[in-house]
Amino acid sequence: MTGPTDDLTLIAECRAGRTDAFGSLVQRYQDRLYPTALRLTGSVEDALDLLQDAFLQSFRKLNRFHGESSFYTWVYRVMVNLALSERRKRLPKLFRNEPLPEASDPADSSDLGNPTAQVDRQEREAAVQRALGKLAPDHRVVVVMKEFDGMRYEEIAAALNVPVGTVRSRLHRARCELKGLLSDYDEAEPPASPPSTPSNVAEPTTNPPLIVHAEARGR
C-alpha cells in the first residue's frame, strides 16, 4: 500500500504540470474504486465511464485538494456524487439489468469444483444487483457505501454532505425495500449457509425466507 505522502508528491507533480503523475494515481486507485462504481451503476461500461469521469473531475479540481483526507477518499467522494448528479440521473441508460462480469475475488475459490454452487452464487449476485438497481439513487448510494464499502454513518454523511440522521433513515428505508425485492428470490432459494450476526443479536433457531410484511411501527 502506498502511503499518503507518495500521493501528495504525485499531486504536487501534477500541479507542477507533470500530468503523467496523475496517471500513476489513476493506476493506483482504479482497482479499489471500480467495484464500487460497478455496484453503483450496475453495468461495466457505466462503471468505467463513471470512474473515468471521477478521475477527470478530480484532476480538474486538484487545486481544491488540500490533503484533509486521503486522495482515495477524495476521489471516492467525487465518484459517488457524480453517480448522484442530475446529469447522470437523467441518462436513461443508467442502471440496466445486465449481466455483470463474473466474480473474480477470492470468495470464488470456494466454488471451485462446484459448478452448482458457482451458478447459485452468480444468480444470487445478479438478483441482489437487480434489486440494487431498483432503489432510488440516493438510497442505492448509501447502501453501497455502507454495506459494500463498510463506511461509518459519519463518513457517508460527510461524503454526501447530508446529516447523519439522513444517512440512517435512507439506509433503513433502502434495506426494507431491498428486503422486499429479494424476498421472491429467497423464497425460491433459501441461503445455503447460516448468516453471521452481530454478537449482540440473538441467533434465530430457524431460517425462514425473507418475506416482506408490514409491521406496526408502534407497539
Binding site: E45, C176, V201, R217, G218
Partner: protein
C-alpha cells in the same frame, strides 16, 4: 413506547451508544417481532456486503490522460461560433447480441429473439449447438430505396437499444458518416484510421445513390464497419468528439435506415418475440435482427465464427480482433444501435 425502526438499522451497524443502545437491546430482547425484523435486516445487509469485487480489467490511466490532454488543447483554442451547415455524423453501433435460444440458432428468414434478459449460465453450459456469427465482412452495397416519410421514433426500441449498447465485450460497429463537408468526412476517416486498434481494417461501404440517412442533411454517406471492444469504442468516440467538438446523443434508429444498415451487414431488422425460455408472458416488442434470406453474391461472406456453449468464439480467418465470449452476450446476431452526432467543426 413508539419504536423507531431506523434504530434497528443503526443497532445492526453498531452505530448506537449509551442509553439508546441499551434501550434498543432491551426492546429487542423483549419483543421477538423486533428481533425477527433485525434478523431480516441483517440478511439484507449481508446480501450486499457479500457481493463480489470484480477486477477492472482495463487500464484507465491512458484514457484519463488523453482526456486531460484534450481538455488542455481545447482550452488553448479560441472559442468560435459553429457553422450552421456543418457535417453530421451518424454512428450506428451494431452490437453482437446472443439470443437466449442457443440451441436454435437463427436460420435464414427466421426470426431471432433478442432480449436483454441475461442468458442463464446453466442453459448455455449444457448447450452444444453451434451458432453462426455475423461476418465482419467486406463491403456490401445497399440497394434499398424508399420514398415514404420516416416514421416517428420508437422510444421503446430506443430503450432496448440503449440497454444493448452498454453490454460489455466486443461489438460490431457501423459508423455512418453523413457529412456535407468533404473535409469533415476526411477527418472522420483519419480519426478512424489513427486509432491504435488491434484490427486496423475498417470496411468502407459506399451507400447507393438515392439513400438518405438523415433528411436534414441530405448527401452522400460513407459507412465504416468493424468490431471494437470497450476501450477502442471509447477512444473512437473521444477522438471524434475532440475532432468535431460535438455533443454526442444517443438517438433512435430510424427503421428505414436500420434496414439499410441491416442490408449492408447482411441482416434484417424486425420485431422480436419473447424467448421460449422465458416462459409464458406477453409478446415483447423488441428490436431484433434476423439474417437476410439471401446474402449478396457480390461479396462472399467471411467464414463464420462458432459459438459452442460458454466457449470463446473462434474468430474468422484473418481477423485479429479480440475474441468474442458468449458469456458477455455477444453472439450471432448484431443489433443496430444508433448514435447521432451533430458535428460542428471549430475554426482555428
Amino acid at each position: 413506547m413508539i419504536f423507531d425502526d431506523t434504530l434497528l438499522s443503526a443497532h445492526l451497524d453498531d452505530e448506537l451508544s449509551g442509553a439508546v443502545r441499551e434501550a434498543v437491546e432491551a426492546a429487542i430482547a423483549a419483543d421477538p417481532a423486533l428481533a425477527e425484523r433485525l434478523r431480516l435486516l441483517g440478511e439484507t445487509k449481508r446480501a450486499v456486503s457479500s457481493l463480489s469485487r470484480p477486477a477492472i480489467g482495463v487500464d484507465l490511466a491512458g484514457a484519463v490522460l488523453n482526456r486531460i490532454e484534450r481538455d488542455r488543447t481545447a482550452a488553448n483554442r479560441r472559442p468560435y461560433y459553429w457553422i450552421a451547415t456543418a457535417a453530421s455524423l451518424l454512428f450506428a453501433l451494431a452490437i453482437w447480441v446472443q439470443p437466449l435460444e442457443l440451441g436454435h440458432p437463427p436460420k435464414n428468414g427466421q426470426d431471432v429473439v433478442v432480449t436483454n434478459v441475461p442468458t442463464p449460465h446453466v442453459e448455455t453450459a449444457k448447450d452444444e449447438t453451434v451458432a453462426p456469427v455475423e461476418p465482419v465482412g467486406p463491403p456490401v452495397i445497399a440497394e434499398v430505396k424508399y420514398t415514404e416519410p420516416m416514421p416517428d421514433a420508437n422510444l421503446h426500441a430506443r430503450d432496448q437499444m440503449l440497454q444493448m449498447l452498454d453490454r460489455p465485450g466486443v461489438r460490431r460497429i457501423v459508423i455512418v458518416v453523413d457529412a456535407i463537408d468533404p473535409a469533415a468526412r476526411a477527418s472522420v476517416n483519419d480519426a478512424l484510421m489513427l486509432l491504435p486498434r488491434k484490427n486496423p481494417e475498417f470496411t468502407n461501404v459506399k451507400l447507393a445513390q438515392g439513400i438518405v440517412l438523415d433528411p436534414t442533411y441530405p448527401g452522400e454517406a460513407e459507412v465504416f464497419a468493424t468490431v471494437m471492444d470497450w476501450p477502442e469504442r471509447r477512444q473512437l468516440l473521444d477522438k471524434l468528439e475532440d475532432e468535431f467538438k460535438t455533443v454526442i446523443d444517443q438517438t433512435v434508429v430510424d427503421p428505414h435506415v436500420g434496414l439499410q444498415l441491416a442490408d449492408m451487414s447482411g441482416v434484417q431488422m424486425g420485431v422480436g418475440r419473447r424467448a421460449a425460455g422465458l416462459g409464458q408472458g406477453p409478446e415483447q416488442e423488441k428490436l431484433a435482427i434476423r439474417r437476410q434470406p439471401h446474402q449478396p453474391e457480390v461479396f462472399p461472406p467471411d467464414p463464420p465464427a462458432r459459438v459452442r456453449g460458454n466457449a470463446v468464439v473462434q474468430a474468422p480467418s484473418g481477423f485479429v480482433g479480440p475474441p468474442v465470449s458468449t458469456r458477455t452476450n455477444e453472439g450471432a446476431v448484431p443489433v443496430i444501435v444508433w448514435l447521432t452526432t451533430r458535428s460542428k467543426p471549430a475554426i482555428h
